[in-house]
Each structure stands twice: as structure tokens, then as C-alpha cells.
């Protein structure tokens, strides 16, 4: 990722974008009056606060040259992917394959990946997690499955 992004301006723009989105959605709800408030009043007010904060942060950020903390693309992609794959496979393939996929995918954040460590983790951690969550806590997930 590029490292030169200005921190306060970027944060201000994020807040501004969320604020506009929130206001847009809130206007679809009933706003009401102060004594009989509709569900839209508080979100609308918060959206406006976010827009103001965003403008404030961006404007005051014009004077500061502080840059955002560099983001690491590889972990961002791999960790997100590992969670998504886990969510997709836990019910279709079962707990053991889903966990193994998650450990390996998140381990790919490291370059080069430490294959031996990941293999050890799979062998040790998956049975331990299976015992804790499925046997002890009784989460209804099969160890292995084949459902599509």
C-alpha cells in the first residue's frame, strides 16, 4: 500500500463518507418530534455529527503532514480471506477442514510461509479447539461434512 496518505485528511474523508451514508439512510426512517421521536432522529443527528467531525478533521489535517500508518496488504487480504473461507466451509465441509484452511490461509500472511509451524499448529490446535468448542461447549458443528 502507498505510505504517503495524509492521516487526518484520510480519517476526515472516511468520517464524512460514513456520515453522508448514515444521513441518507436515516432520512428513510420517520424522524418525529422531540416529544415523540421517530426511529430516524438519533441516527440522523449522529450522521450530522460525523459529517462535522469529518470536515473538522480534514480541515485541521491540512496543516499537519502526519501520514497514516502504513497498511500491510498481504495480511489484510489473507486474514480477511481466511475468515471468509472459514465462514463458507464450516457448515459445508465441517470444523476440521474449515479450521485447517483458516490456519494455512492466515499463515500465508507471512512471506515465506513457515509450513512446518503451520502443520504443527494444525495438528495441535485443531483437536484442542474441537474439544473446547464442540465437545465442552456443545457448538453444533460437525467435525467433517460434505454438504453443498
Amino acid at each position: 500500500m502507498q505510505t504517503g496518505m495524509r492521516k487526518d485528511i484520510g480519517a476526515g474523508l472516511i468520517a464524512l463518507a460514513i456520515g453522508i451514508g448514515v444521513c441518507w439512510i436515516s432520512l428513510g426512517y420517520r424522524i418525529g418530534t422531540p416529544s415523540r421521536m421517530g426511529p430516524g432522529l438519533v441516527p440522523l443527528a449522529l450522521g450530522i455529527v460525523l459529517i462535522l467531525c469529518g470536515i473538522g478533521a480534514a480541515v485541521s489535517g491540512l496543516r499537519s503532514s502526519e501520514t497514516a500508518r502504513p497498511m500491510r496488504a498481504r495480511p489484510m487480504v489473507m486474514v480477511t480471506l481466511s475468515l471468509v473461507v472459514f465462514a463458507l466451509t464450516i457448515e459445508r465441509l465441517g470444523f476440521v477442514p474449515a479450521s485447517a484452511l483458516l490456519i494455512v490461509l492466515s499463515g500465508l500472511s507471512e512471506s515465506p510461509p513457515k509450513w512446518i509451524a503451520l502443520a504443527v499448529l494444525c495438528v495441535v490446535l485443531i483437536p484442542a479447539a474441537y474439544f473446547l468448542f464442540i465437545v465442552l461447549l456443545g457448538i453444533p458443528a460437525p467435525a467433517f461434512a460434505w454438504k453443498f
Binding site: G54, V79, A87
Partner: protein
């Protein structure tokens, strides 16, 4: 009931086999994560939050609290041994702890911090036991307008008492408030920000929020980074015997640190341990007869801050348990756990569930005692934990995040949600958004909206109700003063000088 009866009730609750086991698990896990740099206590508590839903409420809270104060003990070990704080609140211990290690006095430093932790905790727990009942009784007369204003003060403090841009701090709180709004509106039954997904009708679980902001972001930040500090010193039991001079030199700093810590811990939004430790360090340096020795292995430089961060960890429970106002993100998680168990935090908790309050208070004493006993023979084991390579740590945390989130409702939707929110959280934190005020906003959001609406309903839409009631007015005035003070301070020194 008198204090003695209450303490007996607490003793009875805390010493049941089940609660003792949960306390032991909590403090041990706390020690381990405290020692390991890279996982803070917030991450650890977030990871273990789903487990407590399977336990009775008292046992669950005993465990969560144990993780918190256990980590305060453990955090200083990494600071002393490898000059890298295990938790944020023990960062200041590095300043004098690591020089002591290089002088071959690691053992002394470790035992002094253990004793300081224990004394600091005990002093703050006594305050908790003495102050909470009268505070709760006073708060029973609060109306919804007072509650609204008190929570508003908590949120203003959380948003403004941060480093960096106050606008972003305020935005963090606001985003948290909005995340708390997602779901069915209690008063009208309308669906808000659910985007037609039935999984969101009940709102976003606190587990998802905590894991996204404190779990996923931590993993993305630290996975694949080598730890560049080597462990050189060895610690033997014999080297841990403190000399009489060391003990004498620690006594007053520990007492002063405990008092600073207890006071800071009670304040809302003060950030708990870190600020307490820094303030205690500053106080010691100011009044010391040899200020030059600070930074080169001064014993008061480790004993006072260590007592302070442990005292703050305990006294932070006072506003949380008596007023229902969490002072920092960890207390917000504790409050969230209470809500999940169907207990509305507030002044009625002590009266309605005395076994919960007193059991918890006594379990703090028990837990600190376990830590003291556990630490002396186990110190070598804790120190060796620092040799675990991070390669093993972060994939394991990822698995814990995924399974933990899945376990809350047994739906994969929550895991997708944590992946998306986690990614967003990572980007936002990189731009300076603060996860702790955000979590505070998320937890307080529904409570504050409910009180706001109720107050206006009773006053028939008259906003003067927030000013007519003296308690409410006082909190609002404090909020305004805080904002003015922060705004003036920001103008005076636009770039806060970082102390080395």
C-alpha cells in the same frame, strides 16, 4: 446488612469450587497474554468473551476480570526482560525495568513489581468495597435525564482524552454509537441499518465488534513480524530475593502509586492503566531526591507505576459496577458481558444481585493472592513464554476469532461480518480512529438513547429537563468544560511533544 455480612457473602460466592476454577483460569490466561507482547489484554478478553456466555454470570465475570488484572501482573515481565511492554499499561516499566535487567537485577525487578502489583490491587479493592455501596445508594435517585448526562460526560471524555485529533476521537465515539443502533428499534419496532438481513435484527453482537476491532486488527498488524528483542537474562529463585534496601526504597512509592492509580482508575475515559502508570512515574520523578537515577534502573521507577496500573485496573470497577458507566474499553466489555447475561448495569446491581457484586469483589482479592503465590515459583516459566515465536501465535488467534464468533449464534453470517468489519477497522485504525472510544460508544449507545428518549417523554419534549435537574446540569457543565479545556489545549500546543 453490614460490611462483614457482605464480605462473608462474597467469600461464600468467591470460594465455591466453580468460581475458584474460573478465577484460576482467568488469572493464568491473563498472566500468559500479559507476558506475550503482541496480544494485549483487550484482545485476550475479546477472544474469551464468548466462552463466558456458557458460564453463570458471576463465574464469567470473575474470569474476565481475572484476565484483566492478571495481564497487569504479566505485562511488566516483558517490559523488564526484553524492553518490550506486554501490555500498553506497562510501557513505562521499560524505562527503569530493562536497565535493571542489564545490571543483572532482573530477579529483583520482577519480585518488586509483583509485590507492587499485589499491594496496589489490595488498596484499590478496599476502596471498591468501601466506596461502592454509598455511591450506588446515591445513584439510585438518578433520573433518566441524569443518566443521559452522565453517559454523555463519559463519551465526551472518551472521545477527547486521546492522543491525536480530537475530531477523529469524536468520530470514533459516533461510529460506535451508530454500530450500537443497528437492529430493531426498541421504542418503535422499526429496523435500522439492517439492510434486510434477518441476522441483524437483534443488532451486532458485542463479540463481533470486539473481535473485529481488537482481534482482527491486532492479527493484521502483527502477523508475520519477527520479534527483534532477544531474551538474554536468566531468572533464578535466588536472584529474586529482594534486599532490605530495595524493599525500603519501594515502600512509599508503592503507596503513592496505589493512590494515584486508584484515583485515575475511577475517572471515566481516562484510559485506565496506561495513564495511571505514567502519572505515578511522573510523580515519583518529581519528588525523588535523585531524579537523575530515573531511566537508569531506579527502583521507585518500577514500583510506583506498577502499583498504579494494578490499582487502576481494580478501581475501574467502581464506576462500572455502581453507576453502569465504564471508564475504558475493558470495562465496556465487562458491561457488555453483564448485558448479555440480562443484567442491566447500574446502581441497582449491588442491591439486586449482592452475590454478584460481593462475590466479584472478594474474587479480586482471591485472584490477586493466587497471582502472588503463583508468580514466585512460576516466574521462570513465564519468562520462558517470551521464547514462543510469533509464527505460532497469530494463526492460533485467527482460529479463536473465527470459532469464537461462530459460537455466539452458530451462524456463519457473524464470521462474514467480523471479516468485513475487521478489515474496515484495520483501515480506520491506520488513519487514527481509536477502537477504545468506539467500543464505549457501541456499549453505551442503546442505553444513552433509551434514557434520552425517556427523559424527553417524561418532560413532554422539553429539552430544559437536562438543565433543570441539578445532577444532570452538573454533568453537562463538566462535559462542556472538558471540551473547552481540550480545545484550548489543542490550540496552545498543536503538536503534542512525545516524551522519550
Amino acid at each position: 446488612m453490614g460490611v462483614v455480612d457482605n464480605l462473608l457473602l462474597g467469600l461464600e460466592t468467591a470460594l465455591t469450587f466453580q468460581n475458584l476454577i474460573y478465577c484460576l483460569i482467568g488469572v493464568t490466561v491473563g498472566m500468559v497474554v500479559g507476558v506475550l507482547p503482541g496480544i494485549g489484554h483487550l484482545t485476550a478478553i475479546s477472544l474469551l468473551l464468548p466462552l463466558t456466555f456458557y458460564a453463570p454470570v458471576t463465574a464469567g465475570l470473575v474470569m474476565l476480570a481475572g484476565i484483566y488484572y492478571g495481564a497487569q501482573y504479566g505485562g511488566s515481565i516483558a517490559s523488564i526482560m526484553i524492553n518490550m511492554p506486554g501490555t500498553a499499561s506497562s510501557a513505562v516499566i521499560c524505562l527503569d525495568g530493562y536497565p535493571l535487567t542489564r545490571q543483572g537485577k532482573a530477579g529483583t525487578a520482577l519480585i518488586i513489581t509483583t509485590i507492587a502489583s499485589f499491594v496496589g490491587s489490595c488498596i484499590a479493592i478496599s476502596l471498591l468495597i468501601m466506596l461502592s455501596p454509598p455511591l450506588a445508594r446515591a445513584a439510585l435517585s438518578f433520573h433518566s435525564a441524569d443518566y443521559f448526562s452522565m453517559m454523555a460526560l463519559g463519551l465526551v471524555a472518551a472521545g477527547t482524552l486521546i492522543q491525536g485529533s480530537k475530531f477523529i476521537g469524536a468520530a470514533s465515539v459516533t461510529v460506535g454509537l451508530l454500530l450500537g443502533i443497528v437492529g430493531t428499534d426498541v421504542s418503535s419496532g422499526a429496523m435500522r441499518f439492517t439492510f434486510g438481513a434477518p441476522e441483524l435484527f437483534d443488532g451486532i453482537s458485542i463479540v463481533v465488534i470486539a473481535m473485529a476491532f481488537f482481534g482482527v486488527t491486532e492479527v493484521m498488524t502483527s502477523i508475520g513480524l519477527a520479534r527483534d528483542h532477544a531474551l538474554n537474562a536468566k531468572v533464578t529463585l535466588r536472584s529474586m530475593m529482594p534486599s532490605r534496601a530495595d524493599l525500603a526504597e519501594s515502600r512509599n512509592p508503592i503507596l503513592r502509586g496505589s493512590m494515584v492509580g486508584s484515583a485515575v482508575g475511577i475517572l471515566p475515559g481516562a484510559g485506565g492503566g496506561s495513564m495511571a502508570a505514567f502519572m505515578a512515574y511522573a510523580v515519583e520523578k518529581r519528588i525523588s531526591k535523585k531524579p537523575d537515577s530515573f531511566g537508569r534502573g531506579a527502583i521507585p521507577g518500577i514500583s510506583a507505576p506498577e502499583a498504579a496500573n494494578n490499582a487502576a485496573a481494580q478501581s475501574a470497577f467502581i464506576p462500572t459496577l455502581t453507576l453502569g458507566i465504564p471508564g475504558d474499553a475493558i470495562m465496556a466489555l465487562i458491561l457488555g458481558a453483564l448485558l448479555v447475561h440480562g443484567i442491566t448495569p447500574g446502581p441497582q446491581v449491588i442491591a439486586d444481585s449482592p452475590e454478584l457484586f460481593w462475590g466479584l469483589a472478594v474474587s479480586f482479592l482471591v485472584g490477586n493472592f493466587i497471582l502472588l503465590i503463583l508468580n514466585i515459583p512460576m516466574m521462570g516459566v513465564w519468562v520462558r513464554l517470551l521464547k514462543i515465536p510469533p509464527t505460532y501465535l497469530f494463526p492460533a488467534i485467527s482460529l479463536f476469532i473465527a470459532v469464537g464468533v461462530y459460537s455466539v449464534a452458530n451462524i456463519s453470517f457473524d464470521v462474514f461480518l467480523v471479516a468485513g468489519l475487521g478489515l474496515a477497522a484495520y483501515v480506520m485504525v491506520a488513519f487514527g480512529f481509536e477502537p477504545a472510544p468506539l467500543l464505549l460508544g457501541y456499549v453505551l449507545g442503546p442505553l444513552i438513547e433509551e434514557n434520552f428518549r425517556r427523559a424527553l417523554l417524561i418532560s413532554r419534549g422539553d429539552f430544559m429537563v437536562f438543565i433543570d435537574r441539578p445532577i444532570s446540569a452538573a454533568f453537562l457543565v463538566m462535559s462542556v468544560l472538558l471540551v473547552i479545556w481540550v480545545a484550548l489545549g489543542a490550540r496552545k500546543n498543536p503538536a503534542p511533544v512525545k516524551e522519550s
